[in-house]
Amino acid sequence: MSSPPPNVGLFVTCLVDLMRPVVGFAAVKLLEDAGCVVSVPAAQTCCGQPAYNAGDQTDARAIARQVIAAFEGFDYVVVPSGSCAGMIRVHFPGLFAGDAPMAGRARALGERTFELTQFLRDVLQVPDVEAEYIGTATYHDGCAGLREMGVKEQPRALLAAVRGLELKEGGEAEICCGFGGLFCVKYPDISGRIVDGKVDDVLATGADTLLGGDLGCLLNVAGRLKRRGSDVRVRHVAEVLAGMTDGPPIGDP
């Protein structure tokens, strides 16, 4: 490459940080393999979505400020989650209505913020990946990734390059899994009914693996799959694309 390598700040997300660090390392590997210089600012916790969606604008704004300050020095912000990427890109600017300088900074950061597979395909134009995964997978489109960020073909295009992997689409891949952040604990009965529908759809594909780009959805669907005694393996798409599938799938020992 003649131009300097892109300087990427990885926003790892609170769920990947706390629950499943391998997704973060997989994201780093994919970005570095694609020629990026990756940094992980230590001053990151969460994108603020729990506060934002609960109507707590004050805390959401404070957290947004923190994210903007920690990440605005990078060429790009890359997030292994469509939901958190959507929070930064779509929702941060609106938190600073009436504060033009902050709103401007939020917009500028938002424009450089991408979901991982979207960044690899749409910005870096990565043609394929070097990975192998023996199995048949179905893909769950996380709602915010799909509808706020426009993530749909990118993960599928990259997965097509994975040796040994066959992709089978579920008829309801674009329907919400019922996670919804705090929704799933506030309305557990409704959430349970919705995730059951998602599990039915996953099982109907006959796939042995469920992949997705949002750990919130994956924890939810994996939890219900396990409760129903299914042995479908659940992984974040980055794990498969980076060939980092030696460890247990989500919810398995």
Binding site: M19, C143, I175, C176, G180, I190, I194
Partner: protein, 474 residues
């Protein structure tokens, strides 16, 4: 109608356990959305039409006073009369007065959400007047004394067996052993009963899908033709409508009709689209002698210019209900009042007060599908969040959730402290969950583990592992 919006969670649990309802909801979930998609696939300019429809509705809301005055003038010029109702009580009184002045004993009605909103049937009954719903679905729920469970398919929660039971109970005039197995038999019986009402009604009451300002015309769409008989056979036609239903011109009405039926049922146009303007003119062969339009505000004008302004673009197609994962799980009655689904979750708190409907804006995953399918592009998730913000700022959310959120936010705003707190928690849970990889039960996580396992965390946070990463490699 008594609102049970406060009991949303209880209503929802009941709905989830109701197998007949769940079967009906499964039929709906696979019916309307697929028909809508097919209809849109046949119309390449649909997205452009949505923009046009949105722009028409925006123009209406920007100039609502102008269009309403023009509508009133035109209705007057054609011999009709417009009545203004600030709230439901005023609307009820106005309708009752018109009925009483007409000496009405029977009032036929075509489907109207405003009729439900102001509970006009109960009011007429209490004053000795018999209202008869003539839309088949509305008729069914009227004899069952239920509220509608869907904007355009009010009895969608019922199976044909349940309808047959209600008919046998209500229609004592027919042989007890008649077969009502086939939908056709149900339809024929309802038609036989309703035909008498059509002929004996003194007043016909309809809603309105649109009010056309340039002509004073009321536009009503149905698939059964019942509105046509309702408005043309009796001596008096009363239209009840909320005031934002006005549109500038007949051309605008045509544009909206093109997105309405496709979004609602996947039809290109509803079976009956009726434009009625004023009472019968000299020489007309039919039509009512008197034409009244009762225009209801009921808090809608307080939405103008507010964060909820765009909700007033709604044309009541029901697409957001059909596609909503929450609606599809619990159905319309769980919402506890007249309006349900995403549009109901935004509108109901305006009409009956957020303090009575606090669950509605919260019972959403904010998945965004509603906005995706809305023919007039209402940003419904943003409005649901807006209600949550008002609740949070008004201290109306539950204390437990507020304190939990505040404690979490306190840490999330302090990365160093956050690291100190989450490290040990993740380590303990990681250790406890290592053997099975998940938890079946966990203190304080009952909401989660009631229906699903909780995958165990890995035991170390990404950031802790990253700090130890030697020379840029994991």
């Amino acid at each position: 109608m008594e609102a049970t919006t406060r009991n949303f969670e209880r209503n929802a649990r009941k709905a989830l356990a109701d197998t007949k309802l769940q079967e009906a909801l499964a039929r709906l979930s696979h019916g309307f959305p697929a028909k809508r998609r097919q209809a849109i696939a046949r119309l390449p300019e649909f997205e452009a039409l949505r923009d046009a429809a949105r722009d028409i509705r925006n123009d209406v809301l920007e100039n609502l006073d102008f269009y309403l005055e023009r509508f009133e003038t035109r209705v007057g010029e054609r011999g009709g009369q417009v009545h203004w109702a600030r709230d439901a009580a005023e609307a009820r009184s106005l309708v009752l007065k018109i009925c009483q002045d007409a000496g009405a004993r029977t009032v036929t009605k075509s489907k109207s959400m405003i009729g439900e909103e102001i509970a006009i049937n109960e009011h007429l009954e209490a004053n000795g007047i018999t209202p008869v719903e003539t839309d088949l679905g509305e008729y069914i729920i009227q004899i069952r004394r239920e509220p509608p469970s869907h904007l355009i398919a009010p009895a969608i929660h019922l199976s044909k067996g349940q309808v047959a039971e209600s008919f046998k109970e209500k229609h004592g005039q027919f042989p007890k052993d008649r077969s009502l197995e086939e939908p056709r038999a149900l339809l024929d019986e309802a038609r036989t009963v309703l035909r008498e009402s059509f002929l004996e009604a003194d007043v016909g009451m309809t809603g309105a899908n649109m009010l056309v300002a340039e002509t004073g015309t009321v536009v009503v769409v149905t698939n059964e033709g019942n509105a046509d008989l309702t408005m043309s056979l009796p001596r008096v036609h009363i239209v009840i409508a909320s005031l934002e239903k006005v549109v500038p011109t007949l051309d605008d009405a045509a544009t909206l009709l093109r997105v309405l039926a496709r979004s609602a049922t996947g039809q290109e146009i509803s079976v009956y689209t009726t434009f009625s303007t004023g009472p019968r003119r000299p020489g007309d062969l039919d039509g009512p002698e008197a034409f009244h339009v009762v225009l209801l505000d009921n808090g809608r004008t307080t939405m103008l210019g507010s964060e909820l302004h765009e909700m007033l673009r709604c044309i009541r197609c029901g697409a957001c209900l059909n596609e909503c994962p929450i609606y599809r799980a619990v159905g319309g009655h769980a919402y506890g009042w007249v309006y349900s689904g995403p549009m109901g979750a935004v509108l109901t708190p305006v009409l009956i007060g957020i303090e009575h409907a606090g669950d509605l804006p919260n019972a959403s995953t904010l998945c965004g599908k509603c906005e995706d399918v809305c023919p007039v592009r209402i940003p419904l998730p943003r409005m649901l969040r807006h209600w949550r913000q008002r609740q949070f700022e008004g201290n109306q959310s539950s204390a437990a959730s507020r304190y939990g959120l505040k404690a979490w936010a306190f840490l999330a705003r302090r990365p160093a402290l956050y690291r100190l707190a989450v490290g040990p928690a993740v380590a303990v849970l990681g250790m406890l969950g290592r053997r099975r990889g998940r938890f079946r039960r966990l203190p304080l996580a009952g909401g989660w583990t009631a229906s699903r396992d909780l995958p165990a965390p890995a035991g170390r946070t990404f950031l802790a592992l990253w700090r130890k990463r030697p020379a840029g490699r994991p």
